[in-house]
């Protein structure tokens, strides 16, 4: 047999572990958790059988949720940009060249609860260089006021890149209307007025770094082709001198919503009309049934195979799409339903159809067989996401940020298994109350 093909087949045999969608553990990989004296946590999943690739993630547990002060919306995202400015020993140009020579897939992204940085690269011989350089970047970031002012304009440019999206506007309006106090009121990008003021925020940026870019607020996740002991030697060598922050963030408590809210936006040019209905829901938990039951409910009522979506999208063709959105968040967040309509005149009808479906969830128990199908879908969906080294890392960082413990994945999926039709109904009654609702609409115009 051709040597290369033989080698390939052998590697292929070794490459994938069978994913145990039928076992009790949805996340099949062994992981190691370590913590340095300064509070830096390391989650490590060595997969030496997976040749070449290493995914190196730095999870900063600070996102737009941390923007609790007025005028600071969008700052977590802005700071993510500043993190690419280099240090005194490794200036930006040198850092860029380092990543370029490495041929790494690299970037950062900010969410409501966290900011993630990743370097995906080939070759375990490069691991020490990556650990050293990333440690230096996070511990010794340096930029001056001029650099900050220039980067602030990039944020404005990023805002412009999405300015033609009506969904962005709908989403902004939903959060701004539904929340009163909590920092989830604004989106990750922030309010335009705050973006325009970012050039003046040099001092605050230093404070932000001191508070949140510290080892006791950060987790490293490393997955791929390396030796764990070797990794830890490097991590101890390069991260141990980093000092804790000891800062404790207090996020404002969102008061209970006491009356139904509505908001509307007129999009100036032609677009398909859009509708969003949101309810305040629970925060992420792998113990309380609320989130797990609502996750399943969202699928039962609004997946592509649900009766309502099939009726409105396929039979009556009144909507281009309808779907539910209930992202995991550290603090209580919204469970929302979005629809893109064909015609403006159907707006009230579609809104009422969604309300009716949610009422039905309160009065009728879903069948066990349907619940089984939903549980099957979420298990296979998750299993599919673990197909590559970076897929494993990308899936895991989300959960690590929420609880700092990868074990939460298996706990959550075990919790899904315990959810009954009665739990679904109970949660529908608990959360889908009229006074807890926010309805946001967007309609197109005729201007060019």
């Amino acid at each position: 047999m051709n040597k290369r093909i033989y080698l390939f087949l052998c590697l292929a045999l070794l490459f994938f572990l069978s994913l145990p969608v039928s076992s009790s553990d949805i996340f099949p990989y062994e992981y190691k958790i370590e913590e340095l004296d300064n509070g830096l946590k390391i989650v490590s999943i060595p997969l030496p059988e997976n040749p070449h690739i290493i995914s190196y993630y730095t999870v900063v547990r600070s996102g737009s949720r941390n923007e609790v002060e007025p005028g600071k919306s969008g700052f977590a995202h802005f700071f993510e940009h500043m993190m690419f400015k280099g240090t005194k020993t490794v200036p930006r140009e040198v850092y860029d060249d380092f990543l370029t020579e490495l041929g790494a897939g690299t970037n950062g992204y900010t969410t409501d609860d966290s900011t993630f940085y990743f370097v995906v690269f080939a070759g375990r011989e490069n691991l020490e260089k990556v650990v050293r350089t990333e440690a230096d970047r996070f511990m010794n970031l340096y930029y001056d006021e001029e650099m900050l002012k220039t980067e602030a304009q990039v944020i404005e440019g990023e805002y412009y890149a999405s300015v033609s999206s009506p969904f962005r506007r709908l989403y902004e309006l939903m959060r701004d209307t539904a929340f009163e106090k909590h920092s989830y009121k604004h989106t990750v990008l922030g309010y335009l007025e705050d973006i325009l003021d970012m050039p003046n925020q040099f001092e605050y940026s230093q404070l932000y770094k001191k508070r949140f870019y510290a080892p006791d607020n950060i987790i490293l996740l490393v997955v791929g082709d390396y030796d764990h002991t070797q990794l830890m030697d490097y991590v101890r060598k390069y991260y141990s001198s980093w000092e804790r922050s000891e800062y404790t963030l207090v996020t404002p408590v969102e008061p209970p919503q006491t009356k139904a809210k509505t908001a509307h936006y007129d999009w100036p040019s032609r677009t398909l009309p859009r509708l969003a209905i949101g309810y305040h829901g629970p925060s992420y938990s792998d113990e309380d049934k609320d989130l797990a039951a609502l996750d399943l409910l969202a699928q039962i009522a609004f997946s592509q195979s649900s009766p309502l979506v099939q009726k409105l999208v396929i039979d009556e063709q009144k909507c281009l799409n309808i779907y539910a959105s209930f992202p995991d968040r550290r603090d209580p967040y919204l469970i929302s339903f979005f629809a893109t309509l064909r015609k403006e005149e159907d707006m009230d009808t579609i809104r009422d159809e969604i309300f009716t479906e949610l009422e039905r969830m309160k009065t009728e128990l879903v069948s066990e067989s349907l619940l089984t199908e939903i549980k099957s879908n979420i298990k296979y969906s998750f299993a599919n996401s673990l197909a590559t080294t970076d897929g494993i890392a990308g899936s895991l960082v989300h959960y690590i940020n929420l609880t700092t413990d990868p074990g939460t994945i298996n706990k959550l999926f075990q919790l899904y298994e315990t959810i009954t039709p009665q739990d679904i109904q109970d949660m529908a009654k608990k959360y889908f109350r009229n006074e807890n609702s926010t309805v946001v609409t967007l309609k197109g115009g005729d201007s060019q």
Partner: protein, 513 residues
Amino acid sequence: MKKKRNQILIGCMILCAFLILGSCAKKNPDKIKAELLPLENNPLVTFRILFNIGSAHDPSGKEGLCQLTWSMLSQGGSQDMTYKEIIKKFYPMATQVGLRVDKEMSVFTGQVHVDNLEGFYLIFKSMLLDPGFREEDFIRLKTNQLDYLDKTLVSNQDEQFGKEILNLMMYKGHPYGHNEAGTLEGLKTISLEDVKEFYQSHFLQGNVTIGLAGGFQNTFLNKVRDDFSALPEGYTPLLNLPELRMPDGLEFVIAEKQTPATAISMGFPVTISKADDDFFALWVAGSHFGEHRQHLSLLFQKIREERGQNYGDYAYVEHFFQGRGKFPATNYCRQQQYFSIWIRPLANSNRHFVIRQALRELKKLLEEGISEERFELTRKYLLNYTKLYAQTLGERLGWKMDSKYYGYKDFLAEVQIRLPKLTHEDVNKAIQKYLNMENLHIAVITQDGEALKNALIANTPSPITYANPDMPEEILNEDLMIQTFPLDIKVDKVHIAAASDFFQKEGLPPQDE
């Protein structure tokens, strides 16, 4: 040991099946082809059913027919099942059928856990081989396509809109010259009978490459081969494309709409593709000048990093579609390619300056070439970065397929052989041979197009201001040169049209009065 021997034996059997399929295709273009990537014990199986048919095969006056026909397969019912029933069956398996249509190529995709392989394949096969062609699916999917062109593309996606205008400019009167979704006028004339006829005349064995990767068994492969071999024999010859039309000077099309930001795309056709030896040298030049969403990109460094003008600025030496992460997607192979620059949206007040800046950088690239140091850096980057290209099963299959299209056994392996042999001079020669800055198409989406037109023609100085009052002197000095950088733009080469008038018919909309 026995298990290992059996695994190797199974691998060999699959390899033999592959060789048989491959040799059939070589001998007879009417027959089906296959690309296989068997991975024993892999829990997933990925399908890529590739067609060498795309929107360039749309009949004149029926633009959008290819995409609509293939959508009827991927998002419509089969003869035995309605689309609703298919969705319900797929749901517990967490799977679906995907579709991507390009100019000369389309691909149907699906991925499923091996637990569900038989159940998925039975439906997938019926969707492609026994489509239902129901009137209600036709109406739904045709409406989707019409809405995309009429409402979404021109009003909600300015970055993509700019790239599509560039396509209209480059390929006027050419089979590539319309969006894959078609034109509003063409789509409206398409009937369900047209769809059935297109399917019958193009869904032929010789047009299909079956791509399979993951944990499938040899018996399964035989079944797939037998099923698809039931398709009519025959193939559609490669399109005989007209000669490329280079722009005559700097040709502008301005799509006018109310917007706080300006989106810009520019480019021109090139007579080179991955199949050519020179490609590797030009690719290094393109990567140095504008690697997609990487700090390596010179344009990114000059426009975004130094001046904070926008979110990013990139250049490409062939058609680029972003796949997973920032990596190039596969199965967008074309006979004819183009060079392009993508300027992401920026404040309207700075549009003239940045157009000048991008063209000035292109001029410098032509005049000065790439430095030895940058050449080495870029080459090293590509040698390493391409190792990350093919990670998922779909990506690995896609690269195998693309390799074959361009005449390589394995393009990514070829990169590791060719790039080390490249010289600095090779790259600079390729820049001179294939690039230019005098003749470009430039698409601009902005407001008050007449003011921009007048400023462009008059070469009005275009200074910019910064939030940072202490910009480095070297940048400010360079700005003085950029803001008066002369561009030779003729009055009849600036075409302004309302954004809402695009994609109504084939070609560009008429000039605003």
